[in-house]
């Protein structure tokens, strides 16, 4: 199977990423709307006790952090689209690719950090208001922790691979300019 160039795996992946980009954008808009409406109606119908208001504000902050991770993920997908576009055009050893990978790595670490912030927020501030049973609550927290660690490791991994890629570009240039 052809990996690089036109009508290859990389061109199919690029198309897939374009669809994913569109789907995530749509989902982000829907989630943003639903979260906004829910929080607004909850805010209006609440009895305005201080504790309840605190809970709503916290829920809003955590919801928007989750939505922010979706927006950051969009940027990551966009960087991958640009990388795969280059691969489709057989531009393998482009310095631009290292810039894209660097951005992907930084954004992944940011997502990992945002998930971690959510976990901290849920664990510390929302534990008093928790209506979930113990097991579900535990599983949700573990899932968020796994996401956080996974994105963090992914970001660091990409950063290291990016350095290898930079070295490869350097060696290729050296090879090209060896007479």
């Amino acid at each position: 199977m052809k990996i690089l160039g036109e009508k290859s795996l990389s061109s199919k992946v690029e198309k897939g990423l374009n669809i994913l980009f569109f789907v995530i954008t749509l989902l982000d808009i829907i989630v943003l709307g639903v979260a906004g409406i829910t929080l607004f109606s909850e805010f209006n119908s609440s009895t305005m006790r201080d504790n309840y208001l605190f809970k709503i504000v916290l829920e809003a902050v955590i919801s928007f952090i989750f939505i922010a991770t979706g927006i950051v993920a969009l940027f990551i997908i966009y960087q991958f689209i640009k990388i795969f576009r280059n691969l489709k055009e057989s531009k393998l050893f482009e310095k631009k690719n290292t810039n894209y990978l660097n951005k992907v790595s930084n954004l992944s670490i940011i997502i990992g950090f945002l998930y971690f912030m959510c976990l901290v927020g849920i664990s510390i501030f929302l534990s008093n208001y928790n209506s979930l049973d113990l097991l579900t609550d535990f599983l949700i927290k573990i899932l968020i922790l796994v996401f956080s660690v996974a994105f963090f490791i992914f970001g660091i991994g990409i950063k290291i691979l990016n350095e290898v890629y930079k070295k490869a570009i350097e060696y290729k240039e050296e090879n090209d300019f060896t007479i």
């Binding site: 050296e174 300019f177 060896t178 007479i179």
Partner: protein, 69 residues
């Protein structure tokens, strides 16, 4: 770069054109241009040997070292 390639000087001394040198040592004129303009990162011993053979000189006549600032 600290290493200076003086192929131009030797070509002038031997009254030879770049094209002729490229053809006789078996490299493309584009690659010879890279060498002459000091853009080359490395030179193979085989290429150096051919240049010396064609221009009838020593490697030291072609390559020079200049302390980089």
């Amino acid at each position: 770069m600290a290493i200076i390639v003086n192929v131009d000087v030797m070509l002038a001394k031997r009254k030879m054109s770049s094209g002729e040198l490229a053809e006789r040592i078996g490299i493309t004129p584009a690659n010879l241009s890279i060498l002459k303009t000091n853009k080359a990162k490395a030179i193979r011993f085989s290429t150096l040997e051919k240049i010396c053979e064609v221009l009838d000189c020593k490697p030291g006549d072609i390559l020079d070292y200049e302390e980089s600032k």
